[in-house]
Symmetry: D2
Subunit: 347 residues, 4 copies
């Protein structure tokens, strides 16, 4: 059994980690920290876990995280980078669900997250936890920076196009029109995500610039091995979970004959958690609700030169906690789908 | 034109007052205060008012409220009672949407609202602003304590039963099972009313005791002229606006022959904002959405001895701002429905 | 492995059975019938099952249901009673999710369901599939009539009160104010359950009388061994899954000293799927979402004589498919919780 | 007073017309037809109209539509073209909310709507009812084909870019990523728009091709006076009302210095129902809920060459019934905003 600790388990990615890990056949949950809730049984805060998780929150200093095999950070940005070094030094692997180890360029990190990076050597060592792109590196990693929820869907959606030797689409002009459920904003008391504000309503936000843009650009350029240009427009959907990314790419004249459906199917052949749907499909977010699945459909409306890629994922699972568990499975040599075979909840 | 000021217009009852008053044919909006938002155009906070309300928030001291004919308090409990005296002294009428002037017994107020009442003489003078019960007193009032949202639906729902000379139902055992949309909790940043918490979810709350219980009991006893006993269980509905109260009363053996449908229709004959629906109806909250209407249906399942009364209202209109405007109309001798003839928005 | 067939898998209870059974460690799904969709892969209709259920719908005559160990009927009322006899004759056990085998009195069945009962001997033999009440009979049963969704919550909510030797509450005057998500109405194309009709809306329905009333009355009388009187008012909540029942019972003078919290805890001690929450709790429907759990809280507001019992369940799991699997587990001597340990999905 | 008839008032555009027209100061509602509901008071179907609309549905033959000044068709496609000729011959003006008179090319109409056009001369005469583009033609029209809901938002969003003498953007490559509430699908009993299907869910649909594409292309080409190329991807949002269109256009090198914000403000100067918001705005659909307002924000993310235009409207008002009333006002020489000054309902 792998001994797992969680730092900061009071948010949505934290409770989702608990849901997944409590039912994971190879995991023993040994500690969950919250300075504020020290001593409170986790199931008092999240009654959905009554009878299933008997752990209580403990203050970080009492948590004995260094006796864990792996520690997940489900904390605000900036926490993991201040604690990772010590854990790694004791042989504990670290998986960060926040942004501390996502962006390789410290200047870019500081610009978008408003804090200097305090851990440059580890930043260099950290592996970007997107298994379908980075599986081998993850296998050997001690420290994982998990992708953001939007970046997961954009990267897996664009990857087959960009991973070819030569450009197939106008890579300077990629567009990602993304829509997310409200849980993506986290479990923070804020006015704009109140039900009375966000329900029966739809809006774009962050059009000027969003933190997930530099991360995604970095990821897409790594996949392509070339510079790319991306416009990313996020929108807020009046629902709890789910991301739907509608991706647009202009097909280059020399690539007009490409069978993009086949390209996508081939690219993701054998991937357990990426489902390339049949031509003409319109994936729905509920078709992956509460599961680690991501689904993709490839469209070319009117047979024209614009490719429209539809991607859905559950932002809390494949976009966060589930992807973390998937990385853990890889890091510890387990079956990659261990504890991740929940069937989506529909309706 | 009646000059109207609003103290504290950044919450839901405030913006609803603005929606109603900005279109009221006899009203001139002259001031709206918010210490925190001093100088900010109201329409910057609420873009729905762009092009319709040109007023900016102003700090209380600059607002010249004493030049108004009437001032609405859409503030947290405790504010109106600290400012009403001064305004009244200058001949300004006051309508409080909070609880400061609802409960006549200062001890009861203190017990439920956690603060002593600072204005006992005005408390005695204040008129409870429920027009269908208190119209004549409202006409002469300088100071109105508007009913809460739940209490409006419960009182208007039970009133015809209790207003008869002799008891028709077991008045010691009234039950009100009430359901409210989330806007009833106000525009405060809180976790439990986030969309990701309150959507696709249903729960009761405050079963132990809720502030609207003593207010409603006081109102029902005033209507009946007798002691009554009420159990009130509020629930949170994953919707924005609307209250649905399901009321239960045990018919007394001597009242079994009563035609309750006729009793209700007679009681509310001529009332513009109370609609007694035909027998067998199930009023929906959306049938009153964004309007000052309240609808009632009278049921006696299986022809038995339990009366089931269904009541719907929009908690922000008939349950708050609309009722305030209705009181204002009465106080100033206007047509009671002036500015209140919006047709409900369906779907 | 138990060979399982499903008749009529295109509705919500059908797809929920598939979600549960496809992940059940002791089950082999062998057939699912739909005359209309003969040949269509199940996962084409429900993409959530892509990669997890490879079965296609087949016409009833091709389905070889008689080779199954057990067949679930997730069909409209009236289907199971026309096919059960033949299956039972071949040694196949039958679990009906519709109402055909719920109500013991054929006249009552005909009155509420508008069709005569065609299978009176089997009706007598059929066992009411509520494990917490009927476990021993279920163990020996060949034919199960599963409780309706509302009746499950009402019966398990009232059971501890009624199961005592002497009456503790006024059993002639029980009230159940129940609220259900829209999936309870099934996957039928109807106007009143469209999102544009039922969303941001709340209403009661069927106040005159609802089919779940006679079933629940029968169940409660069986538990009490006495006549009872129940008023049942169902309401439609703008959410997908979940039932919240608010139950009211008048405590008898001689039972005033009873510790009802202790009574409930004792009654459900050892039950895996019934959680009696601590005093003062307000269970939320999402705390059981997508799981077989049912939670109960016991209140006595103001220390008075009215007991308020709050009950939540997922109408598609404990209120339907999950309860069916629970019964199957009992019938086949498996661990009662096999395949039913999904942790509720929150948020 | 203008005498108004409505053909087919049982859908969402019909009830919305009733809401607007019943409160219109210059209108007398004289007839509303429904063959199926002949004799049924409108308010029995839509209780929101109780006390406000006393009209009953009548069979078409009894409705005396020829005594009206104007008749609205809120009917399925194909009805208006079969009845318009007769009404026009009697001097009755006609406004069609369906698609019969939108698309000028009969072949295109037949291809997308699956029926031949039966009224080619009237098709030629019909005026496309988009006041901000076509006001003068509307003033003189006898017959109006009202724009679809999506086309209204796309055309008013792109118009300022295309209406200039020379191209500013790559007009061959316009993209419209549009999101609509479910009421856009109408009040038809269908599975995919049930609350239990469409709630807590998000998906694209009709990516292959949608009827609103040829209409919008025709409109944009009329505005530009040039050929344009448009990709249109509609999505379904789990909310009742509202359309949010996110429009993308590649700025041409020679137009890089353009002040697009100023361009939009100038273009819509003086328009009562089009609000160009300040730079940096993110319009929300609720900011126009239940009103005839449309709001636009102009973005140029990162100062790059891609223009992102955000447009919101209420699909049932500016996207349908409200636009119809606006046209009627113009046709009859009334104030264009008569009966259309409802302030948006927020929250």
């Amino acid at each position: 059994m792998i001994k797992v600790g969680i730092v900061g388990g009071t948010g949505y990615t934290g409770v989702e980690l608990l849901r997944l890990l409590a039912a994971h056949p190879e995991v023993e949950l040994t500690a969950i920290t919250s300075r504020k809730e020290d001593g409170m049984p986790v199931a008092d805060m999240f009654p959905s876990l009554r009878g299933r998780v008997s752990l209580a929150f403990s203050a970080p200093d009492k948590a004995k995280l260094d006796e864990c095999d792996v520690v997940f950070f489900a904390t605000p940005h900036g926490v993991a980078m201040s604690q990772a070094r010590e854990l790694l030094a004791k042989g504990v692997k670290v998986i960060d669900l926040a942004a501390d180890f996502r962006i390789k360029d410290a200047g870019t990190f500081e610009k978008w997250y408003g804090m200097p990076h305090s851990c440059l050597d580890l930043l260099e060592e950290a592996v970007y936890g997107l298994p379908e792109v980075n599986r081998e590196a993850i296998r050997k990693a001690r420290l994982i920076g998990l992708p953001g929820c939007y970046p997961t869907s954009m990267q897996l959606g664009f990857a087959p196009l960009l991973a070819q030797g030569r450009p197939l689409v106008n890579e300077a002009n990629l567009i990602a029109d993304c829509k997310s459920g409200v849980s993506g904003a986290g479990r923070k008391a804020e006015v704009h995500t109140l039900l009375a504000e966000a329900s029966d309503n739809f809006k774009a936000y962050g059009v000027k610039g969003h933190r997930h843009l530099p991360e995604t650009t970095q990821g897409l350029e790594a996949i392509a091995g070339r510079k790319i240009g991306l416009t990313f427009v996020p929108h807020l959907v009046p629902m709890i979970r789910g991301i739907h990314s509608t991706l647009y790419a202009q097909i280059l004249p020399e690539a007009r004959e490409t069978d993009f459906q086949a390209l996508y199917e081939r690219h993701y052949e054998g991937e357990r958690f990426v489902d390339v749907m049949p031509p003409g499909s319109h994936p729905e977010t509920r078709s992956v609700r509460a599961s680690n699945q991501l689904r993709i459909a490839v469209h070319r409306p009117g047979g024209g030169d614009l490719l429209v890629i539809l991607v859905v994922e559950d932002n809390l699972v494949k976009g966060a906690a589930g992807q973390g568990v998937q990385c853990m499975n890889i890091m510890f040599g387990l079956d990659e789908s261990a504890g991740l075979m929940q069937i989506p909840v529909l309706p």
